[in-house]
């Protein structure tokens, strides 16, 4: 069962990475406009328009 000694901390470390990822996303305002984010992904704002 010695394998647990490093497997459990590793699992915890991965979990913590996820937690900090979420907190970072929250801090950078990625949850402030969830409806808008769903729609922005559909827009072609990265394509240069010639006309218009």
């Amino acid at each position: 069962m010695n394998v647990l000694v490093y497997l459990v901390p590793m699992a915890l470390g991965l979990g913590l990475a996820g937690l900090f990822g979420f907190l970072w996303a929250l801090r950078s305002g990625q949850y402030s406009d969830v409806d808008g984010a769903a729609l922005r992904v559909l827009s072609d704002d990265d394509i240069e328009r010639t006309g218009d």
Binding site: M1, L4, V5, V8, A11, L12, G15, L16, G18, L19, F22, L23, L26, R27, Y31, S32, D33, V34, D35, G36, A38, L39, R40, L42, S43, D45
Partner: protein
């Protein structure tokens, strides 16, 4: 005289020297709007940032100072078909945004901890019935402790702080038993772990926090959502005023006016601020202030109040300090009195916790004593007592009411009712008497044509289209009869008389009887007449306050619900009587002063009645504050809206009925949930007292009861 729109009032300087402004945007319907708006605004000179928040329909714009006038942004939006309304973000809203983010962080930490501890706990539970070695179990318990203690210390803060505040004020609330339960469970688990025991309750403690935080976060999110909508509506309502700046006339937002400013009020406009008339004569409609629908003639020296409607003359007004003037003073005095006399009903959750906490804590103590007398060791007796505290976890109880509140507030929101006060749902459900104001509440906020049926429809449409070219209040009322028609191109307004235009080669006129070639007309009672003439055909259009379209049906439905109904109006008795008769309300009073409104409500209260006050005027504000619970239409003056527990939107009265029925259903579900939590405890406690509770049973009972309570709360969504 040039008229410039000056919006610099709304522009706020950021730390990097740019100016920023927030706008509520009307007309945002789909994802394509995001790009269209942002691209159009970014093309303006000097813009450094333009970001539309689609969730709350708000646009944030920042620009280099001096690069452009803020009004240009609004013009740009108008060009592409949107209306932008600048606003100053409320401090409450900003504070709530910070609080929401904090709650989400707590929730994330609690969720992470609960899942990881559960992973370890399940291993221990399954190991306990197979072949786990004591060393491995200890290792798992210590790992759990390492996660649980910091997580609980961090994510438990909202509960610990609230409990501490309650204890300091020598009261108790639901957070007191929660905090005691969590702390004892953690402490006991730590001691048990140190003693190499089979069981630890780290998972229960953290899971309890996780479930409760879900409830709090949802509650908060719902409140923020409704507040954002209310904020946008306030921005839409915000008026502008024409302020004299030397010889120039500058249009500024009402918020930018200060005492001593002189403002011009054009015919057909609302008076933007309280003040004294210094020039001009006119008639004003003060129904939104006093409920009186008859117009008042005013001249220089007259005191006028914000929200009154100016009729045919231009007025110059000197703005007085906010809250000055005889009527305002009286209202403020009455408001103080009403607020002092008000005893807020104790909330259902607090009442439940007041019963719950002593019973549970006494049971736990008795359990320990009982086991000691029966000969158990001190250690075993304490462990069992703490197990009682954990199993009676207030989880179901603490979720019972917030869960229903969140769902019910959402249901009300869809029914166009926006809650101001968190506990308004409970108080709405208790109401047994409804007191209505008449003007603007039972009747529509704006007057309408009342004899439309007896006028040739074609003529009516033509008159309404012509009315679009006039700012006279009667013409504005008439123009509401159009079905989206555009105004005539060459309409000419003759000040003080009417408006005329050539239609298909013949002249059409709309205005006073004399302007249209009539000698005089006798208006029907309580109505004003505007005349339309076209090709020798003449129509007299009577314009008056009309009932909200569904008023009769809604009042009937409220009566069926067993509510006692009254009308209290500041208007003359002769006007109130026909309204009361149509609605079948026998208990009505006209010509009531704000003070008498309060007295009436106090009398009802003394009879043991719980009054729901529905009103919109400045004269209703004290009564709204004094009543058990109160509702205002969105058209109400700001002071009345601030006093109301909830605001309803639209031209219909139905939201009042919906609010009452939804609140009653929510209240029933809350009671059901409380009973459910009680029954759960009745079953679980004996098991715990006997000492049969293992961490597995505790975890299953806690999640099971929480899920059941939440599912029951979801029934508040259902339409009646």
């Amino acid at each position: 005289m040039p008229d410039v729109l000056d919006l610099s009032f709304y522009a706020k300087r950021a730390a990097d020297g740019t100016l920023g402004m927030d706008l509520a945007v009307e007309g945002v319907a789909c994802g394509a709007c995001i790009n269209r708006i942002e691209n159009a605004v970014r093309k303006l000179p000097g813009i450094t940032e333009a970001r539309l928040n689609f969730t709350n329909r708000r646009l944030h714009v920042a620009w280099a100072a001096g690069a452009l006038a803020p009004a240009q942004i609004i013009t740009t939006l108008e060009k592409i078909g949107y209306r932008g309304h600048p606003f100053v973000p409320l401090r409450v809203e900003q504070e709530e945004a910070v609080e929401a983010r904090r709650l989400t962080r707590y929730l994330a930490v609690a969720g992470f901890a609960a899942m990881n501890i559960m992973l370890l706990s399940v291993s221990v539970w399954s190991g306990n019935i197979t072949d786990i070695t004591p060393e491995t179990r200890d290792f798992f318990h210590w790992a759990s402790a390492l996660i649980a203690l910091p997580a609980a210390a961090y994510a438990g803060q909202p509960f610990f702080k609230s409990a501490w505040r309650a204890l300091k004020a020598r009261t108790t609330n639901m957070d007191v038993p929660i905090s005691i339960g969590v702390t004892l469970a953690l402490a006991m688990s730590l001691i048990e772990t140190a003693n190499h025991a089979d069981h630890a309750y780290f998972d229960s403690a953290v899971m309890l926090l996780f479930f409760l935080l879900i409830g709090r976060t949802l509650d908060h999110a719902m409140r923020r959502k409704t507040r954002a909508v209310a904020g946008n509506l306030a921005a839409l309502k915000a008026d502008t005023a024409h302020r004299f700046a030397g010889d120039e006339l500058v249009t500024v937002p009402v918020g930018a006016l200060s005492p001593g400013d002189r403002v011009l009020i054009k015919p057909g406009e609302c008076i933007p601020a309280d003040g004294t008339v210094v020039g001009g004569t006119s008639e004003i409609d003060e129904s939104v202030i006093t409920g009186e629908t008859a117009r008042r003639a005013i001249a220089a020296g007259a005191q006028v109040y914000a929200g009154s409607l100016n009729f045919h003359g231009a007025l110059t007004l000197k703005v007085s300090a906010a809250g000055k003037g005889t009527l305002i003073d009286e209202i403020e005095r009455l408001l103080d009195k009403a607020a002092g006399a008000k005893s807020r009903a104790m909330r259902l959750a607090d009442r439940a916790s007041r019963v719950y906490a002593p019973v549970v804590h006494a049971t736990a103590a008795l359990t320990a004593i009982g086991w000691l007398i029966a000969g158990a060791s001190l250690h075993d007796a304490l462990i069992t007592a703490i197990a009682v505290l954990i199993i009676t976890c207030p989880c179901a109880l603490a979720l019972a009411i917030p869960a229903v509140q969140v769902v019910a507030a959402g249901a009300l929101f869809r029914a166009s009712v926006i809650l101001n006060a968190g506990d308004a749902i409970e108080r709405l459900a208790e109401a047994d008497t409804v007191v209505f104001d008449k003007t603007g509440t039972l009747t529509l906020p704006q007057p309408r044509v009342v004899n439309a049926a007896s006028v040739d429809p074609q003529l009516l449409q033509m008159a309404a289209r012509l009315a679009l070219s006039s700012r006279h209040p009667l013409a504005v009322a008439l123009s509401r009869e159009t079905s989206g028609a555009a105004p005539f191109d060459d309409a000419i307004e003759e000040p003080g008389q009417g408006v005329r235009a050539m239609i298909d080669g013949s002249e059409a006129r709309l205005g006073s009887p004399a302007f249209c070639g009539l000698d005089s007309v006798t208006p029907p009672p309580n109505a004003s007449v505007i005349v339309f003439s076209y090709e020798r055909r003449v129509a007299q259009l009577a314009i008056a306050q009309t009932l909200r379209p569904d008023a009769v049906a809604v009042v009937g439905a409220l009566r069926t619900l067993g509510l006692k109904l009254c009308i209290l109006s500041g208007d003359r008795c002769a006007v109130v009587k026909p309204v009361a008769e149509v609605l079948g309300i026998t208990d009505w009073q006209g010509a009531v002063t704000p003070g008498q409104k309060i007295d009436f409500i106090e009398t009802l209260k003394e009879q043991g009645r719980r009054v729901l006050m529905v009103g919109d005027g400045l004269n209703d504000a004290p009564a709204l504050a004094a009543a058990h619970v109160s509702l205002s239409p969105i058209s109400a003056v700001d002071l009345a809206q601030a006093q109301a527990d909830a605001v309803f939107l639209g031209d219909w009265l139905k939201p009042v009925l919906d609010a009452v029925t939804a609140a009653r259903r929510a209240r029933r579900l809350m009671t059901e949930n409380l009973w459910f939590a009680a029954i759960y405890n009745l079953i679980a406690v004996p098991v715990a007292i006997m000492g049969f509770v293992t961490p597995l049973i505790a975890a299953a009972a806690m999640s099971g009861s929480s899920i059941l309570v939440t599912l029951n709360a979801l029934r508040a969504r259902m339409q009646p």
